[in-house]
């Protein structure tokens, strides 16, 4: 595995860990395990998410690739994006289903805005993440 691909994969992992950290901290405060003041610490995972998003998806042009019209892509790129979107669809369905079950079983209440926004963000970065994971440089 070449260095650039390894670095890109690491950045993608850190990005997802940032989302998890942000959600865990939020729910720890919401469940009164931590005091409200700890919400200030959300700045750290959010900063991590923003920085790694820029590095892994924006600078590598993967965000453009997955979000541009098919007319702007060549046949290989279209094939790659289609494949990534197919995998993303399945993954996203599984993750969302698991979260819904988790909420039902653990009495966490309703799915709130923070989780909904995180899921929306994940839905948008999943295809780019799969491409970032698989594409050679």
């Amino acid at each position: 595995m070449n260095k650039i691909l390894k670095k890109r994969r690491t950045t993608v992992i850190i990005n997802y860990l940032g989302i998890v950290a942000m959600l865990v901290l939020f729910y720890l405060v919401k469940s009164h395990i931590l005091r409200t003041i700890y919400l200030v610490l959300e700045v750290i995972p959010i900063a991590v998410i923003v920085i790694t998003f820029r590095t892994a998806f924006v600078k590598s042009s993967l965000w453009n690739m997955t979000h541009s019209s098919s007319k702007k892509l060549d046949e290989r790129e279209m094939h790659v994006v289609l494949h990534a979107t197919n995998i993303s669809y399945s993954l996203f369905a599984i993750v969302t289903l698991l979260i819904i079950y988790l909420f039902i079983l653990s009495n966490l209440g309703q799915i709130d805005a923070v989780l909904a926004i995180s899921l929306l963000y994940i839905a948008h970065i999943l295809p780019a993440s799969i491409i970032a994971w698989n594409e050679k440089v």
Partner: protein, 79 residues
């Protein structure tokens, strides 16, 4: 599928970007084609052959391709 894109591109002194612009693909796609990690569509294969002004079967093959020097020598010997 095997191809001679890398040899032909270098022979004509083209960069990957220049060839990509000529055939209307991203320059990274040229890398994938040259490494034989992506098989082009018939349309793209013909665009590449038109760009090099060579028949498609000279550029692409389903069998491993001999070096051009060897083919030339065979041609000279009439093999």
């Amino acid at each position: 599928m095997y191809n001679r894109i890398a040899v032909l591109r270098k022979e004509r002194g083209l960069s990957r970007k220049e060839l990509a612009d000529k055939i209307g693909v991203n320059f990274q796609t040229i890398g994938y084609l040259e490494r034989e990690e992506y098989n082009p569509s018939l349309d793209l294969a013909f665009r590449i052959s038109e760009c090099f002004d060579l028949p498609v079967e000279f550029i692409f093959s389903t069998k491993p391709m001999k070096p051009l020097s060897e083919e030339l020598l065979n041609l000279k010997r009439g093999v």
